[in-house]
């Protein structure tokens, strides 16, 4: 049973990592740090809604750590980590009050929270409060990309929950 769980989580981590690395090849949409599709979050959302918080968190952390390592951007780790954890927390809370059909909304709030977490980390690390000027545009970006990844995740949950759960 444990071995199965390990394999399943590992496969999902690999999927997330692949998406993450592929997305890196897409040129930046806007020259603003933090504006990106965040496709790898489809996996996090899917995992959270089918497997539960423990597995989802493990997959998320492994993906962030290995993603930073593989992309050679270890300096971005602190931003990814604070964004990832804040968005995970928001999703966890929303999961309690939202139904499976409203999963897309959880993803929107999670994406916005992700960007907020990144800005908070950036402001703390660079000691530059004026970076908050990026908050509105990153919120817009979070809503849009969150909708997209949310819809994809909702689709994945519908189709895969049977496969993943057993």
């Amino acid at each position: 049973m444990n071995l199965k769980r390990l394999c399943r989580d590992a496969v999902l981590t690999a999927v997330a990592l692949t998406i993450f690395i592929v997305e890196l090849q897409i040129p930046d949409l806007l020259p603003i740090p933090g504006v990106k599709l965040g496709l790898a979050n489809i996996v996090t959302v899917t995992a959270l809604f089918t497997l539960g918080p423990v597995d989802a968190l493990a997959i998320l952390l492994c993906r962030i750590l290995l993603g930073s390592l593989f992309s050679g951007n270890m300096m971005a780790l602190v931003y990814s980590l604070s964004g990832g954890l804040l968005s995970f927390l928001v999703m966890l809370l929303l999961k309690k009050i939202l139904t499976a059909k409203q999963l897309w909304a959880a993803s929107v709030f999670a994406a916005v929270a992700h960007n907020l977490g990144q800005i908070l980390a950036a402001v703390a690390v660079t000691a530059t409060p004026s970076l908050f000027i990026y908050l509105p545009i990153l919120t817009v970006s979070g809503v849009v990309t969150g909708l997209f990844t949310g819809a994809a995740a909702q689709f994945a949950v519908k189709r895969l929950s049977g496969v993943l759960k057993n």
């Binding site: 930046d28 971005a76 909304a105 950036a122 660079t126 004026s130 970076l131």
Partner: protein, 124 residues
């Protein structure tokens, strides 16, 4: 459980507010052409872009990496950098925007303001 209509309304409100705020913040001119360059939040250079008469290059090197800044009369940009994301280079010229150029991996921020980040200057 929360109604879907409520969710849609909240998200729409957030989206509209964020768009309005973005437009307000981004279309607002910086109100000056002094480029303050910060590393780790501390002022590194304070360059009066309007007082420049020729192109000047500043190399900011730390153990995290290198950013090469080019300042010309009225504008400044990151010409090259060895950071992985290249967001700072892709930003292009900073001429009159309140939004700063940021290189998060190297913790470098370039911000235009009305005046230098010092209150007075001594020299002799």
């Amino acid at each position: 459980m929360v109604k879907t209509r409520t969710l849609v309304t909240i998200i729409l409100c957030i989206l509209l507010l964020a768009i309005a705020a973005s437009l307000f913040l981004w279309l607002r001119p910086a109100g000056g052409r002094v480029a303050n360059v910060y590393l780790d939040g501390e002022l590194l250079y304070s360059i009066d872009l309007d007082a420049l008469t020729e192109k000047k290059t500043y190399t900011v090197e730390t153990d995290r990496g290198v950013n090469v800044l080019v300042a010309e009369p009225g504008r400044i940009r990151v010409e090259s950098a060895d950071c992985p994301d290249q967001v700072c280079v892709d930003f292009g010229w900073l001429t009159d925007s309140a939004a700063p150029i940021v290189c998060l991996p190297h913790r470098l921020v370039i911000q235009l303001t009305g005046e230098t980040d010092v209150d007075a200057e001594v020299g002799g």
